[in-house]
Structures are given as structure tokens and as C-alpha cells.
Symmetry: C2
Subunit: 368 residues, 2 copies
Amino acid sequence: MVSKAKSKKNLPEALSKLADEVIAAANKGRTPSLDIPVRSLANVRFNETKRYIEMGDAKQAREFFNVNMAKKFMQTLLVAAACRQLEDEGKTTSIRDLFYMIKHRIDGSSENTVDTQDESDVVIEDLEVTASFIREELNLFAENKGAMAGELTLVDSGDTIDARAVGSGGWAIPSIVEEHVIQFKKCTAEFVLLIEKGAVWHRLNQDKFWKKHKCIILHGGGQPPRGVRRLCYRFVNELKLPLYVYVDNDPWGYYIYSVLKQGSINLAFESQRMAVPSARFIGLSSYDPEKFGLDKKSTAIGLDDGDIRRAKEILAYPWFQSKAWQKEINYMLANGVKYELEALTNKSISFVTEEYLPRKIKEKDWLD
Amino acid sequence: MVSKAKSKKNLPEALSKLADEVIAAANKGRTPSLDIPVRSLANVRFNETKRYIEMGDAKQAREFFNVNMAKKFMQTLLVAAACRQLEDEGKTTSIRDLFYMIKHRIDGSSENTVDTQDESDVVIEDLEVTASFIREELNLFAENKGAMAGELTLVDSGDTIDARAVGSGGWAIPSIVEEHVIQFKKCTAEFVLLIEKGAVWHRLNQDKFWKKHKCIILHGGGQPPRGVRRLCYRFVNELKLPLYVYVDNDPWGYYIYSVLKQGSINLAFESQRMAVPSARFIGLSSYDPEKFGLDKKSTAIGLDDGDIRRAKEILAYPWFQSKAWQKEINYMLANGVKYELEALTNKSISFVTEEYLPRKIKEKDWLD
């Protein structure tokens, strides 16, 4: 059982307040309703000062006595009640489990409270923005992915994990990494390196890169899941460590970096708890193949139409408007090729740990 | 760096032998050639005695002086040389990295040694069967997935991992779990429970199911990757623990169980190192919803055409011919519905750990 939070905001209070307002309205003979912040693109903007994507203030009333809203209104209260139950029992559950928790045939009807998980997922997001708790604080988790090793000791649910001694496998990063679950202890790391791919993380771990270069290495198995992003956020904000992102040289690599740094449009609400505006892109840059003498014939992969379209979209994002980034993306488009992290293996097995990353770090050869 | 094996078969010797035969043939003016076991369906059979899928003895000569074979012949030697280099340097690498390791433009031509990873992957499988080493022994790994917790202490690459204290995340299961990497120490477990889904594993871990029921719990994030299968094999064969498999009640759940138990047709060669014929299917059975009073209206999902086709295929497999299994699969087809592991949450959050699994184990309610 997860121990109760010390620093956690008061979830039971927030959820009770929601319910109390509904009851109060009913008692006064008014239409019970909830004010739900609008999660559409129109209510999302890039905050140039904070350097992350955030939501605006627009809200919409969700009313009980409205044929179009009654079902969603009920679902919102069901999800809130389930989250309250999880909190009271000190448990967490997946969003799939939550769907089954609240799914029931409505008495005397042939209607279900929810029919598909899509319905409960949307309501979870509504509740996140309405109650100002991210889903991990609501005790809900996504499938976890990713692993970690390096110069940090932490406590996870009462167990002390010395990430300097987690073997070849590493510590599996859970989906919920909030303070009441994970506490940081002795940190001897000087930076954090987030790696796109598990296979590349494995090479760095096997070469004990984290020991030689005093760092924490972690990966998220492709697009990092929320637990990994949130952990990076905590490393940067609590341990004051710089974060370097190491991804494929392709538009998807740029995008992974961008989501870590500015957050995403779809989940703009969560940027202030997840985005790391100080994150640095350490590679692969479109200029690296020349700089490091990669054999292009053996390692370059032609951009396909999807890559080119995506690169052009990214080129237009407000947060990629610096000269350096425009140069970087345009150079990829001009060359017409992309490179995977594994391409460095064409030089030698440990080229990435012995030459590539040490030189990039030493020369401060990254993009902000 | 991975310490050299004690118990490992001699890989350098086996690879050198391969090369020596090629050189000897060349020196004698004969056509250099390799005898590669045939990996087609025709050379695969279910061994009724051993209860797993195995390869037959058919072999095919791969010759250097044959226009259709020359390139593959060269690729086979390149892969063998790369594996020898990994062994000499005490390193492991992904099959993607291996592709880049051996990819080069052939001097004086416009041909590459390999163009796509498909080519090197096929050759890896050829080398596995020819040299009688599974890929993990050739120092090659797949993307790793899955986590573990429970009543076992192990050593991973020199680090001691007490799986009783691995937090909410767990120990990330590496892709290579051979004896020279992972050694088992103090085991207080009485059985092993392999869970299909990470989210369900998380529930069991949070409820410390492994502590109360003296077991090891692990998951493979869906279809278990090779590392997880190989680890289960070692638990059963070295620690003499029974293995229970806990999967969705659908044809894909049956199939996951089946691959663990009998191996797969595609990788029949590896069954003798991976298959666990004693594995038991603990659920979800098609009879469980009634037995445990599940609300069918809230939890049953209709079988689609793909499910029905797959169930009928599985019904015909030689290793599903027992009366109990025929009854199980036919009952799913007759009901026309399937159930996910998460469906148990409809009863209550910890129904799986407090009622379902304890009763199934107590009543020995499983399928062999």
C-alpha cells in the first residue's frame, strides 16, 4: 500500500467540494452543474515567458438537466467517486481498470454508465483540469515503460533503490512517481540523460557511462510515458540537474524532445507539472554525421513523405523558431536523410559512450 | 562489462570452427559451404513426449560459388564475425545495432553488405541453428520489456537485486538473462506467476501479493519477450518452481500461454531453451465469470471475427487436444464473449489479489 502523502494537495477535499456544489445546487432547486475548463485547441497557447504550452481560462458548464450533457455529468461524478475510493483505500489503478470500476448497467434501463474506455478517458481528462490534479495524483496510471540507472539513491514505496546497483536490467520506472511514492536521497549525479531507445540505454548501462560521467541515464522505450516525463521534471526542479535528450535524428526525435521541453497541445494542462523548458537536445543533430565522420552510405536513411511533412510542421511551431533550430531542421530537409541512434555502431560498438557523447558534452554541442 | 561465462558453452570455438571449415574447403580447392538447418514449417514438429515444438534434422548447404547463395554466405560470415567481436569485447548489442555493425558498401561496387535489417535478422536465426547458440548467447538482444518482484534474491552483472525490495517499479527484466549475467541466490518463493499485463502486475505488486503468497510475480508487457520467457524457463528448471500463467480470457491469452509452454513454430529451434511444458494456465478461464459471479453485462466483450478464427485455429493445435482444453475453448466460442483481466476490477479493486487468485490456487483450479 502506498503511504499517504505528506506534501500532496488535498484530493479528498477537492473531490468533496465538487460533489458539495452539486448537492447545494440540487437543494436550492437549481440545475446541478460543473464548470469544466475547455480542452480544445482554441483554449491552448504557447507561453513565451514560461516557454511551455498552457491552457487558457475558458470554461464550459456541464449541466445535469441537459439531454446532451446528462450522461457525461453522471460519468464525471462516477470517475470522481472512484478516484476518491482509490485515495481512501491507498490504492492506484490503471485507466483500463477504472473503466471497469465504473461500468455498470443503469437500473431499469438497457444503458451502461460507460460503454467504451474512450468515454471514461475523456472524463478523466476533464476531471484533471477541473480539480487541478494530474491523473497520477488521482491515483490513476498508464502502462509503465522505461528503466533507469545511475548516480542516485531513491526510496520507492518504502524500498531503498540504489540506482548505482540495479544490474543490467535497471530499475523499472513506475507510472506514478509523485513525491508520496518516490523520494530522492543521495544524488551524486551532475546531469540527466534521457535516451529515446531501450537498446541504446542498454549500451550506456553496460559501459557504465553513468559512473564515468556522473549522471543518471533513463529511457522511455520510444515516446517517453508520463512517469518518465514526470521523473525528469522532478530531477530538474528538485535536484537542479540539467536534462539532456538523446534521440534519433528524424522528425519524431525532434518531436519527442519537444514534448519533453514544452509539453503537448493535447495535454496542455499538464505542462506546468511535466514540461522541462530547460531541456537540451544533445543529438543526433543533422550536422553530427559530418562532424563525427559517419559513413553516410551505410547509415543514412532517406526521408519519406511522412518525414518531410512532419519536419515542415515542426519547422513552423512557435517553440522551434530559434535560428539554431531552423538551421537544424532545414539541414535535415536539404540533405533528405535521417539517422538512427544505432547508426553510431557503424563506427564501433562503444563509439557512443567513448567518443560521441563525451565530445558533445565537452564541447557543449547541444541545442536549447 | 559482462563477466565471462563459467558455464557457457564455448562460443569462440564454435564460431572459429565454422570459419575453419570455410578456409579448409578453400585451401583444398573445394566450394566453401555451410550446412544450415532448414527453418521451414516442413522441418518443424510437435514432440509428444517432450511436449514442445521442435525442429527436425533437415539441412541445406549454403555455398559460396552459387549466385543465389553468395550474398547470404557472406552475410552469415559477417554476422558470425560480429558476434565473435562482441564475445571478445565482453559486450552485447541489439539486433538493430548488429545490422549497422555489418552494413558497409562493398569495395568497388554499388552494393551494400546488407540493405535492411530483415536480411541480418534472418541470418542471425540461421547462425543460431547452425552454431546451436540462441541469440542471447551470441550476445544479441531484443528490446527488453517487463518487470519482476517477489521472493528471490539474484545477482545481475555483479549487482545484488533483492526482488523483495524493488519498490513500485520493480526490477526491469533485461533481454539477456543467461547464467553468466544473472545468478540466482536466496529463493523463498514457492511458485512463479507470469502476468500478461503490466497494469495487473502493478496491482499485485502494490498489494504485495508475492509476500503473502510466497511467490515471484513478473510480467512481459503483453506477449512476453524472450528475456522473460528464458527467465521463466530458468525459474522452473533451476529453482524447481511451478509456473502459473495469468492471461486475458481471449484467444490471444491462450496463445501467450501456448508459446510459453510449447514454444512457437517460427522459432522452433529455441523451444528446448525456452519452452516450459509444465506451465499451467491459471486464468482467466471461460468458466470463471460464472464461478466468481462477474456481472457479465458490465464485463463481457463480444468475440469479433478475428477472435473466432483464432480460437478455431488454436482448437486444432496438437497441443490443445486435451479434453479440458477443448472444453475451455469451445465454451468461449459457445458464449461468444471474452473477458479481460481488468474485468475483475468490476467486483472490487483488489478482488484479484484477495479472492480470485487465492481461490484458484487453493482449489488447484488450473489447466495443464
